[in-house]
Amino acid sequence: MASITLNNLVKKYGDGFPAVNDISIDIADGEFIILVGPSGCGKSTLLRMIVGLEDITDGDLLIDGERVNDKAPRDRNLAMVFQNYALYPHLTVYENIAFPLRLAKGKHSEDQVNKLVTEAAATLELTDHLQRKPANLSGGQRQRVAMGRAIVRQADAFLFDEPLSNLDAKLRGQMRSEISQMQRRLGVTSVYVTHDQTEAMTLGDRVAVLKKGELQQIASPRELYEQPVNLFVAGFIGSPSMNFLPATLDGNTLRTALGDLEIPAAKAEKAAGKKVVLVGLRPEFFEDAQLVEDHKRANGTVFTATLTHTEWLGNEQYGYIDFDPAPEVRGLLDNLAREMDADELRPQIVVTLDAASRIRGGREAELWLDTRKLHLFDAESGENLTRDAEAGAELTREANEERAEEIATAQQADGERGTGTGGTGHDTEAVRTGAGHSSGATAAGGKHSAG
């Protein structure tokens, strides 16, 4: 187990283009860090710099306080799971998992190798497939073999490079919860690269959002969601993503394409002096005005709009409102869309409505907007003017506490079963039982997150 420190890391390629530009992150022991961003943001490059497959142009990389910039990958004692698994096709599953142990010559006797591999296989429910070749395995099984190769050696940290992107949606969800459980049980420091924000939000203790090689914000998923530092983070995190509505500020009133919106004085104050701002509105801030409970109504403002169409999803429905932005902010919106990998941002507002709402497309309807949570962004710099740094830090602190607690609980549960991948001196039978328990826990976890 180890902490990893990135000090002003820079990666420049031959043409001088900085793929990774001045990134500093402190990764605590046992922490699960996600690197997320649109394609080409340098997240994979950063991961490969940590593991040693890419040279570091400038800056320091420390593992447990020791500078490892010039160490070969094999001397860094990190385990990595590749996007396309990188299994050795000529070796059986058993030999694939045993590969790192065999390379560390003399460190493990044949008995020890056997025990470690059997344990890892049991944890990952691969016991029945040990003698098969990777070509005969399903995608999910290959993925687990790749994980087995990582957990079989006591690596200081796990690095994942989009490990689930080749799996179908259902399996992805299942593997996601397995990775999360495993990380907690082993309490091992992990860095995980993904472009899927569901993975980012559900797995990470902290999520680092990157854009064009630069770190935008690193914080707990909740802080990113509720207190984003700028337009990019706000737009990237959340699905459907945050709506951006150009507005001019007049006292406590925002004049927007949707009409005039009254906002709390505290918010207006922070944006005072700016002529044009972008209002950040998450779809769930909206509601059908008829369905808002009376005691909540005062927290927001009501306006009328015509929805172009609605999509009913069972638990909720999405409504769409088109608007016509002023030409000067049009370019700004397009720019933002490009940065986030979309082709073009339609000047459209997405709202989430209660499933019972009878509002339908084409008719004028009354919508209620919760103005307490909205954010105001500087139209030029994209900076969040209404960000409450203290509230954000508090969210991240809470997440840290939860992590410590979860690791302790998971390891205690492990201890009670008398198993644990890191432990010694227990037989295979006990490990099998352990695997049974953990799969039960996985199923329970899945239900919990769905509920």
Binding site: V51, A79, Y88, L103, N136
Partner: protein, 282 residues
């Protein structure tokens, strides 16, 4: 469904039999001829007349009159083909590795040149080569055949291996390095086992090309010191000038076919290799 299924199968079976007969009839004919006595050669039957089947043709070339001619030619063929194959495969492996892994200027040029060399008609360079070899003393030597054989085997080896190496998931090398391997270990334990079938296949193809060559063999040699089997067959003579050496030539042809058949049987698993599948997502 089942009906059309069986229909399809029957159709395929007929096609297969036709192709087999077409391809194997000459071989069977030569095999039958090799067991015919000289007097039986013009009988017009496919098989030797009953009671006259003989192994005298084989005796003649292995232990009899033609022994000197055939065995030395066999030795030349094996030696020259093996050396040419070995050199071609080593050079082609290095070249293909560079083409598949590295980005360097002139990469396309290397491949185009290789292609150009391989489509250049052999017959057009035999005469200049004959003159050149005579002048510099390479005429009628092993080296004098190995060098032109390289020009036949190298281009195809480079193309085959480059195509093969491109399919190897090089991420495996990095995975091995992260798993604790040195650069050399990563290459040896992760890449070589994957590359081996491709190298084998290429070696076998190159060997066949060298083994089957006739034009260089007959033009650039004059004695038993370097003459390979395909050329030597043309120098067989009958027992007297009134007898055709057809039987002996057939016997020799059968004998030189044996190593080729053996190679294919031995390495068919490597040749038809599915080893790389399953390394990455599938």
């Amino acid at each position: 469904m089942t009906n059309s299924g069986t229909k399809k199968k029957v159709l395929w079976a007929i096609v297969t039999v036709l192709v087999l007969v077409y391809a194997l009839f000459p071989v069977m004919s030569i095999l039958a001829t090799s067991f015919k006595a000289p007097s039986d050669l013009t009988s017009g039957t496919f098989l030797p007349s009953s009671g006259t089947a003989t192994t005298s043709n084989y005796e003649q070339i292995l232990v009899g009159d033609a022994q000197g001619l055939f065995l030395s030619a066999l030795r030349n063929s094996i030696g020259i083909s093996l050396i040419a194959t070995f050199i071609a495969v080593v050079l082609a492996t290095l070249c293909a590795y560079a083409i598949a892994r590295l980005d360097f200027p002139g990469k396309g040029l290397v491949l185009t040149t290789a292609l150009a060399v391989s489509i250049f008609p052999v017959i057009s360079i035999v005469t200049p080569l004959f003159n050149l070899w005579r002048t510099i003393g390479l005429y009628d030597t092993w080296l004098g055949l190995i060098i032109p054989y390289l020009s036949l085997t190298l281009p195809i080896s480079i193309w085959t291996l480059a195509a093969f190496f491109r399919q190897i998931p090089w991420e495996l090398e990095q995975a091995a390095q992260v798993d604790g391997a040195t650069t050399w270990q990563a290459f040896r334990k992760a890449i070589v086992p994957l590359a081996a079938p491709g190298v084998f296949t290429t070696a076998i193809i190159a060997f066949f090309i060298a083994w089957n060559d006739f034009v260089y063999g007959i033009s650039l040699t004059s004695t038993e010191t370097a003459r390979p089997v395909p050329a030597a067959l043309a120098f067989f003579t009958g027992a007297s000038q009134f007898e055709a050496p057809t039987g002996a030539i057939s016997a020799a042809a059968i004998i030189v076919t044996i190593p080729v058949v053996l190679l294919v049987l031995l390495f068919q698993r490597q040749i038809v290799s599915g080893l790389t599948s399953g390394a990455v997502k599938g």
